[in-house]
Amino acid sequence: MKLAPLTYVRPRSLADAIACLAEHDGEAKLLSGGQSLMPLLALRLAAARVLVDLAGVPGLDRIEATPAHLQIGARVRWHDIETNRLLKTAHPLLVAAVAHVAHYQIRNRGTVGGSLAHADSAAELPAVAVACDGVVVVEGPRGERRIPANAFFHGPLTTDLASDEVITALHLPPWPAGRRFVFEEFARRRGDFALAGVIAHYDAVSDRFRNARVAGFGIADKPVRLTEIETALEGQPLAPEAVERACRAAEHTVAGFDDLQADARYRKALFVTLLRRGLERTLLEKSP
């Protein structure tokens, strides 16, 4: 459980960090909170000759939350999101999701950018980004790129990020007041990665489902948007029948997968149960 020998550098600017990545051409890795990278290095599942710590790069730890604009800096920690007053109303789904991320001590160091770059298929933040049309903002030698979340995640621990690019922020579209959401996940132990998880949100307009969005995590090789379930909900009256339609659609569209933790059938059953439970709970909410 020891890291292989490496060199640690702490650049003072984003430009220096990018230059450092480019100079070491695939042999360098960015260090943000280190809560996913350090275990990988300790278990020798990942290797890096050079660790480029972003702690000295200014400006990456900002949360910008106005009614029209929501941007979370890459160095923002889970703890910062949990304790930010603006976010409780600016993006309640994000706040609810972060409460499920790992444990207290991890939440004190783990960061938004680190989670996006690590891209665990069962992680909460990548799924929120996919479910909410998030845009990952990255900076590299060729300038800035703004990558929609659904194109950013390629597969397990694999993203669109080039080896010389740095994630600087996650942009989320504004969250309308009164929007209802579901965040449900099942893990065997508190703080573990979920075996299956559901994110859904919709606007209750004239007692009907509008702008329905459904995404799943822990059920495929990356977080996935589930448009068939959205279609089953869209325009339906806010009633248990719509929830059943959604669950039937989920039975068709969610495949799940097998690994050492759980088999595909179990993951699928969990997903449907969580979807039903979460949507039924939202039906009890009063319209504003």
Binding site: G34, M38, P39, L51, A102, Q105, I106, N108
Partner: protein, 160 residues
């Protein structure tokens, strides 16, 4: 990799030491500073035994490099008691027999000390939620929760 010595403050005392870049904070505390109260067990961020307090925040010292702690203020389990004796949290652990084999205890003490310092009114649900980041293989969680609940009053008074 040789580098200029790093410096930080541990339990109120400034220290300077030379470490390889790959050395974790937990290793540096134990092997270089001989503060062996911090226990390294899983060394990949699962068990919580190595928890120390860095700039007021409970963190896993196995997931932090020593070089990242440059300039930080660190409190280990050795920093909790004073010349006058056990800290109120430690005393509560003794009263409630919240220790069995004791291996996980330093990490739980540092975690709960950080929690109650920030949230002296933490309720049982919050304490149990935070405690989920520390594994006790003897599974003596109930007495630990009782001890932490009991210690809250002294943190409330300290905050006033």
């Amino acid at each position: 990799m040789t580098r200029p010595a790093i410096s930080f403050v541990v339990n109120g005392a400034p220290v300077e030491l030379e470490v390889d870049d790959r050395t974790t904070l937990g290793e540096a505390l134990r092997d270089k500073l001989h503060l062996t109260g911090t226990h390294l067990a899983c060394e990949h961020g699962v068990c919580g035994a190595c928890t120390v307090i860095v700039n007021g925040m409970a963190v896993r010292s196995c997931l932090t490099l020593a070089v990242q702690a440059e300039g930080a203020e660190i409190v280990t389990v050795e920093g909790l008691a004073s010349e006058r004796g056990l800290s109120p949290l430690q005393a509560a652990f003794r009263r409630h027999h919240a220790v069995q084999c004791g291996f996980c205890t330093p990490g739980i003490l540092t975690t709960m000390h950080a929690l109650l310092t920030h949230e002296p009114d933490a309720d049982e649900a919050r304490i149990r939620d935070v405690l989920s980041g520390n594994l006790c293989r003897c599974t003596g969680y109930n007495s630990i929760v009782e001890a932490v609940l009991d210690a809250r009053e002294s943190y409330r008074q300290a905050k006033q």
